[in-house]
């Protein structure tokens, strides 16, 4: 593959490597460029997309409304999941496809506890914080189950999580005896809608808090370093005194906690749950967010901010598609095309070809033929 043409050309190119090139090489370039593209498209097609107005919600409180607010609001669960998914991807080189089903479980547990087993309840049977904690614990345990299969039994992550992917929604239904509990207490919905007197949707604050937490955790602990080193080379990290299995397990547990928070936000939006519909296809979006953020799906180096921007881009895309009346059931088809394009463009073989094309179009054409 290495042609002698490559070497004499390389020094010529180096001085030309300007600001633009460095920009395009930056990991955040792809998600930000995609975001800019979407913003531009909407700006040209219909500038009113960006209007933010004050409206009264059903309770008579003035709240912000508009497509941008709805993007920021609705992306919350996805952003939270994408952070956990990035860690899992980095450490184990695979993705957890059970996050949607696990969100159903967490939501089901929380609803069951606050409703006290009733089908419909007007007041909470136990303090909300305890119910959410229970949801977090259950979800972390399921995360640990996935993590144990991956780390200790060495099963491919996607296959290991396929187990929970299939059983999760059934387990969620089983927890509530297949009833669909409804929580009517307004304070339960604070986390998913608005706090009284505050015009910004609460999920935005929750997401910000989670992002802040992970920023601090990555800055002040070795979580990021250890995760990367395990993902890049597990056996050499073991020789350096790390326990790769434990770290892999830990990332799955962290994802479990993220899933519980996302599940809580999702159920508190409506105060109810539909086991087969809740967070449907969100695993796809979460994986897409990680890929869009420029993270290698095979593990290793990662950048959670890329995934976070990626998640917002996906929600932006979804909201835009909804605006142009694409039915929600057909959305997966469009997103699948985006995923395939992304992974094809980031595939090493394609990148090499593209680089060759840029360098010497004629030579590359000859090589292909």
């Amino acid at each position: 593959m290495t042609t002698p043409v490559k070497d004499p050309k390389a020094p010529v190119q180096k001085p030309r490597e300007g600001l633009l090139k460095r920009l395009t090489r930056h990991q955040l370039f792809i998600p930000l460029a995609a975001l800019a593209l979407l913003v531009l498209f909407n700006l040209i097609a219909d500038p009113s997309f960006f209007m933010v107005t004050m409206k009264e919600n059903s309770l008579g409180n003035p709240v912000l409304s508009g497509n941008i607010i709805s993007v920021l609001d609705n992306a919350s669960e996805l952003v939270i999941l994408a952070i956990g998914m990035t860690l899992v991807t980095a450490s184990s080189g695979g993705q957890d496809i059970s996050v949607g089903a696990a969100m159903a479980i967490a939501g089901s547990v929380i609803l069951r506890l606050v409703c006290g087993g009733q089908v419909s309840a007007d007041t909470m049977a136990m303090p909300l914080i305890l119910a959410v904690l229970a949801g977090v614990v259950v979800s972390a345990l399921f995360g640990a189950f996935n993590g144990a299969l991956v780390a200790y039994f060495k099963i491919q992550p996607m296959v290991a999580t396929l187990i929970l992917f299939t059983a999760g929604r059934s387990i969620a239904a089983w927890i509530n005896n297949n009833q669909l509990p409804i929580m009517n207490d307004l304070s339960f919905k604070y986390a998913g809608t608005f706090l009284p007197g505050i015009p910004v949707p609460t999920p935005i604050f929750i997401t910000a808090a989670v992002i802040l937490f992970f920023w601090l955790a990555l800055k002040f602990t070795n979580l990021g370093l250890y995760t990367q080193s395990v993902g890049i080379n597990a056996s050499s990290s073991r020789l350096n005194g790390l326990d790769p299995k434990l770290i892999k397990l830990l990332t799955y547990v962290i994802l479990g906690v993220c899933v519980a928070i996302a599940g809580f936000v999702r159920v508190s939006r409506s105060g109810s749950i539909n086991y087969s519909r809740i967070a449907e296809n969100i695993e796809m979006d979460a994986i897409l967010a990680v890929a869009l953020g420029g993270n290698a799906l095979g593990g290793g180096k990662f950048n959670i901010y890329g995934s976070i921007v990626g998640a917002y881009v996906i929600q932006f895309l979804t909201t835009t598609l909804y605006k142009y009346e694409v039915p929600s059931t057909a959305l997966p088809a469009y997103k699948a095309v985006v995923v395939i394009l992304l992974v094809v463009l980031s595939a090493p073989v394609v990148q090499e070809k593209l680089a060759n094309l840029k360098r010497a179009p004629v030579k590359a054409a000859k090589e292909v033929s």
Binding site: F153, K154, M158, V159, A167, S170, W174, N178, A291, V337
Partner: protein, 348 residues
């Protein structure tokens, strides 16, 4: 894993260890199935004693048998394809719309099934084999694409009323000697549907392909160790590509069989079948890591899985969710067993 290629006394290269693994796991599967079924007959009796009950497992799962065999092929080469259930669903819906609204016939249905399967196979196979993208990501995207396309074709369930089609659908092939007398004392012959015959033919064809052809042996070699397969002169990429094409093509065939069985297009068709297919393959002794497996085992895997489902539901756990939980539990159990077996072997 290079140990699997050994040279025998005549100097021929044999995949001795790999084959013995395959046979060992196949034996376990067959034994598990017979134990399951016998214990069901002994402890539960009732329906399990009637031959028709057993044939109904085949009738209801003809499409799954085909899907699972395709899955085994891909898994033997070390890949995976989770789009098969959604492809089944897409084939059903497109066929139903074609029959009802465009005046198609059974032949157009077959063309549609094979065409959709081939299209998915060629695209996914190309992306996996020649661009080196993880098969799971590609087939996950394929699964969502097929799901989305199904609802674009039709959101509402489409029930087929075409007579020519229904005649084929209701054709029953009598199995001599297995009939039973019903409560009124009349003799009711045992039967299988056309789909079962097709499925059995597919199993036999794939069994022969895997055991006695160059391509079949290449599947094992690539899955066992693609580097040494490459050194043996096997075209690894082409082999992987063909495995994915075959798998999706069989998903198309499975779609036709599913459609023949239920006679309608619905977005819920084939839901979770990718999971059932993977579980059946794994129960049937196909290793996720590749290089080991057998379609005969997969066939018994499908039977075991559905026998367990029936046992669970006749024990009184007949709510819909138990079936999913059972499949997941079975899958988990067999995955862990495989993993433990593999880890032990690697330690030796």
């Amino acid at each position: 894993m290079a140990k699997e290629l050994t040279v025998d006394k005549q100097g021929r290269i044999r995949e001795r260890a790999a084959m013995s693994d395959t046979n060992l796991l196949l034996t376990i599967t067959v034994v598990v199935f017979f134990l399951l079924y016998l214990s069901a007959v002994v402890f539960l009796g009732g329906g399990f004693t009637k031959p028709q009950n057993f044939l109904n497992i085949l009738n209801n799962n003809a499409s799954l048998i085909v899907l699972a065999c395709g899955m085994s092929l891909v898994m033997i080469t070390g890949g995976i394809d989770i789009s098969v259930g959604a492809v089944t669903c897409l084939v059903c819906m497109t066929s139903a719309v074609n029959l009802e609204q465009q005046g198609g016939s059974i032949f157009t249905v077959i063309l549609i099934g094979l065409g959709i399967g081939l299209a998915f196979g060629v695209i996914q196979g190309f992306l996996v084999a020649y661009l080196g993208i993880q098969p799971f990501i590609i087939s996950l995207a394929g699964m969502f694409f097929a799901k989305g396309m199904t609802t674009i074709v039709s959101k509402e369930p489409v029930r087929v009323t075409s007579e020519g089609f229904l005649a084929v659908k209701d054709t029953r092939i009598i199995v001599p000697g297995l009939g039973a007398n019903n409560k009124l004392g009349q003799y009711v012959p045992a039967y299988v549907e056309i789909g079962v015959i097709v499925a059995l033919l597919v199993v036999i064809a794939l069994f022969c392909l895997l055991r006695w052809t160059k391509l079949g042996r290449a599947f094992y070699a690539v899955g066992g160790n693609s580097q040494s397969a490459n050194m043996l002169g096997i075209n690894v990429r082409r082999t992987k590509f063909l495995a994915h094409v075959l798998c999706s093509l069989l998903a198309g065939v499975g779609g036709i069989l599913y459609f023949l069985h239920v006679g309608s297009g619905d977005v819920a068709n084939g839901a979770g079948d990718e999971m059932n297919a993977i579980a059946s393959s794994i129960i049937g002794g196909t290793l996720l890591t590749g290089g080991v497996g057998n379609v005969a085992g997969t066939f018994f895997g499908v039977l075991s899985l559905n026998t367990i489902k029936r046992i669970v539901s006749s024990l009184g756990f007949d709510e819909a969710w138990w079936s999913n939980i059972t499949v997941a539990a079975m899958l988990c159990l067999f995955l862990v067993i495989q993993s433990v077996v593999l880890l032990r072997k690697n330690k030796k």
